[in-house]
Symmetry: C3
Subunit: 155 residues, 3 copies
Amino acid sequence: MDVGARLDRLEAESALRRLGSDYCQGFDKRDWDRFAGVWHEDAVWVVVGAGVQFEGLEAIVEQARRMWEEPELRQSHHHNANSVIDIDIGGDVATGMTDVHVNVELGDHTWQRFTATYIDRYERRAGRWKIARREAGLASELFPVSDPDAHGRDR
Amino acid sequence: MDVGARLDRLEAESALRRLGSDYCQGFDKRDWDRFAGVWHEDAVWVVVGAGVQFEGLEAIVEQARRMWEEPELRQSHHHNANSVIDIDIGGDVATGMTDVHVNVELGDHTWQRFTATYIDRYERRAGRWKIARREAGLASELFPVSDPDAHGRDR
Amino acid sequence: MDVGARLDRLEAESALRRLGSDYCQGFDKRDWDRFAGVWHEDAVWVVVGAGVQFEGLEAIVEQARRMWEEPELRQSHHHNANSVIDIDIGGDVATGMTDVHVNVELGDHTWQRFTATYIDRYERRAGRWKIARREAGLASELFPVSDPDAHGRDR
C-alpha cells in the first residue's frame, strides 16, 4: 500500500475514534452541535431491544434532547471502550464496534448503570467521515447500584 | 526516522490497540475466534496472584471458556483504559500496560467489580502483531457493589 | 498537507494520548517519575470547584503525593475515556478534553466513585509534547456506592 493510502487509513481511524468521543461528550454535556456533528444527514440511530429507530439528523438530535427530559436525566455519563474499527479506505466505508459504560442519574435520584455496545457503519462523504448508522444494543442487564440512601452516605 | 518507519510505528500502535479491544470483545461476547486471534501459538497468559499460567493458544482459549462455566458467569464486561505502549519497531517487539475495569455477574446473581492491569509483550511474526505474553494482575481489591436485592430495585 | 505534516499530526496525537495514560498510570500506581513526565516545568494544574491550582512541576507532584496521604487513599483508579484532541501542528499547541471515571477507596474503607473531565492545553517544546495546563472539573456528583458492609459481602 502506498504512503498516501497508509496515511489515509491512519487519519480515518483517528477521525472515527473522534466521532465516538464526540457522541459521548456531546450527549452527556448537552453540547448538541457536537452531538449533531457526528451524524450524516440521513443517518439512522437504532435502539436495539426497544425496537425503535430514528431516521435523519433532525430526528436523532430531537430524540437525544428528549432523552434528557423523560425520563428526566439529572446527569449522564457515557464512557467508550474497546473500539474495533475496520476501514475500507477505497470504498469510503468503515464499520465499528465499541462498548460503552453508562451511568445515569434519573430525576428521582435513582441511578442506572449498564453497558451497551454500538455497532456502527461510517461513511466518508465529501471527505468527511460521519456515522451513517448506529445500532445501540444493551450489552448487560442493569448493574446493581445502591439505593438513594446509600448515595447520601457517600457525601 | 524515514517515512516508512514512521508509518510502520503508527500502524503497529493501531494494531496493538486492536488486540487489546479484541481480547475484551472476544471474551465478553464469547466470540472465541476473535479472542483466539490475539494470541501467538506459543503465547503465555499469566494470572498474577492466582499464581497460575496457561501456555499455548489452545490452553488459553480453553481456560477462557472454562471461566464462563465455573464459577458460572452470567455476564462479563471488560473495559480497557490507559494503554501505555512502547514499540521497538526494528525488533518487531512491543510492550504494553493497560488498565481494565471489570464487571462480572456470577451465576448466583452476585456481582464482582474490580480493576486489573495487563502487562503485555507483543511480537510481530510474519508481519502480524499478536500477544506473546500477558500478565493479568489485580489492580484493586473488589469494589463495593450492592447486594442482589438492590439489583431488583434498579429494574 | 504534505506527508511530513500528516505524519507529524498523527504522531502528535499518539504522544498526547500517551500523556493522558501516563497521568493515570503514574498517579494510581504512585509511579511519580511517570506522573512527573507528563507536565512541563511551568505547568498549571487547576482543580475546578475546589478553586485551587498548583503551579510548576514540583508543586504539582508534591500535591499528587499529598493526595495519597490526606485523605488517606487505600487505592485509586482513574480510567480515561472519550478523548477529544485538537492539534495546531504548526503552532506546537494542542487542546484536549477527556473524561475520566474515578474510583478511590479512602483510609476508612469508604469509597468514592465519580467522573471528571480534564480540559487540557498541550505544548510541544524542544520536540516534546507535554501538558502545559490541566483543568480537572468534576463532571458528576458522587455516584452511589455500597456502604462498607456491602463491601465485605463481596469478598
